[in-house]
């Protein structure tokens, strides 16, 4: 914070901000596949995620707090997903919905990314294929608990998460002659060099 407040005031401000943010998590529905249908079902009247504060599913990332990645993400989509994530203003969180977004699901192929947490920082994972709406609501409630437990009014806790949190890259699953020689960069990621 620009001005230094005494700690007991900062904790009270954090508490107020966490209550406000946790109870009004507006989702950015990044629905790529079948989990998107369950996301829509969760938003509709029978399971109603709006009861828990996710009132507005805005499709503009600039106006959202939570990115819910629902469905398998292919390699062509990864830069798009990262761009949407970077366009969301802080504070923001990510829910990885379904088996495909969390780990690639049943699709262990050349085109499907084996878990979006390799490229995006994820806060809550929801298993299922697809997860039932109740499971997604549980994930939102877990995220609310996480925000209330670790949130700060100025997002100090995000700066501390500066290490890779995804799965260990399993280099042993490729033969030496199949492994690429040069790691890619963001814009030319699919050009094999070497």
């Amino acid at each position: 914070m620009a001005v230094t407040f005494p700690d007991f005031i900062v904790t009270k401000l954090d508490w107020i901000a966490n209550q406000a943010r946790a109870n009004s998590l507006w989702p950015m529905p990044f629905a790529t596949a079948c989990c998107g249908i369950e996301l829509m079902a969760t938003a509709s009247s029978r399971y109603d995620i709006a009861r828990f504060g996710s009132e507005a599913m805005r499709f503009s990332p600039r106006q959202c707090d939570v990115m819910i990645v629902a469905g398998r993400v292919v390699m062509k989509m990864v830069p798009v997903m990262q761009r949407i994530w970077l366009q969301m203003p802080e504070p923001k969180w990510c829910i990885s919905m379904g088996a495909c977004a969390s780990s690639g699901g049943v699709f262990d192929t050349y085109a499907v990314v084996q878990g979006i947490d390799r490229f995006i920082p994820v806060d809550v994972y929801v298993p299922g294929c697809p997860p039932r709406p109740e499971q997604l609501i549980r994930a939102v409630l877990d995220l609310q608990d996480k925000v209330k437990a670790t949130g700060t009014i100025d997002g100090r806790e995000f700066a501390k998460r500066n290490t890779y949190e995804g799965p260990t890259p399993m280099a042993r699953e490729l033969d030496p002659e199949d492994r690429i020689l040069v790691p890619g960069d963001f814009t030319t990621a699919t050009r094999l060099r070497g």
């Binding site: 994530w85 050349y110 990314v113 995804g166 199949d178 690429i180 963001f186």
Partner: protein
Amino acid sequence: MPTFAEALNKQFGEGKFPTQKFRDNNRVIVPAEHLLEVMGVLKSVCGFDMLSDVTAVDYLNYPGAVDRYHVVYVLTNTGTAERLIVKVPVNDPDPAVPSLTGMWIGADWIERECYDMFGIVFENHPDLRRILMPEGFASYPLRKDYPLRGRGERHNFETVLRSDS
């Protein structure tokens, strides 16, 4: 309307192109240099007015195979619901086949898909580039020598850390 066998025999001579049959699946094997003529005859004389699909088979390591690829064209007669399969053998290096976009405009994207997955070039195609895989992708995924999990291209992206954004 003549059957495809009668029309081809009349146009090109008896038994010029080998045919195969299994139940109701009829196939003709046509070399690439005769493809456009044969397709023209089938379309105009036999009434096969719809090109349903263009795909390929990779016979690498197949016992008894002679050519590496067969490009498979599936023709449909929308009047009689009859289907015919035309197979064109092609080989490495530089597998190439004439494009059918002149006769069926719908061949445009399905030939692009066949190129993307197998690397078979369609000559005189108006816009031959990848359609399913990303632009800079360097391999042809449905060939038999390409591994199912790929060669690491799917994870060849930078990670966005929580503290970056």
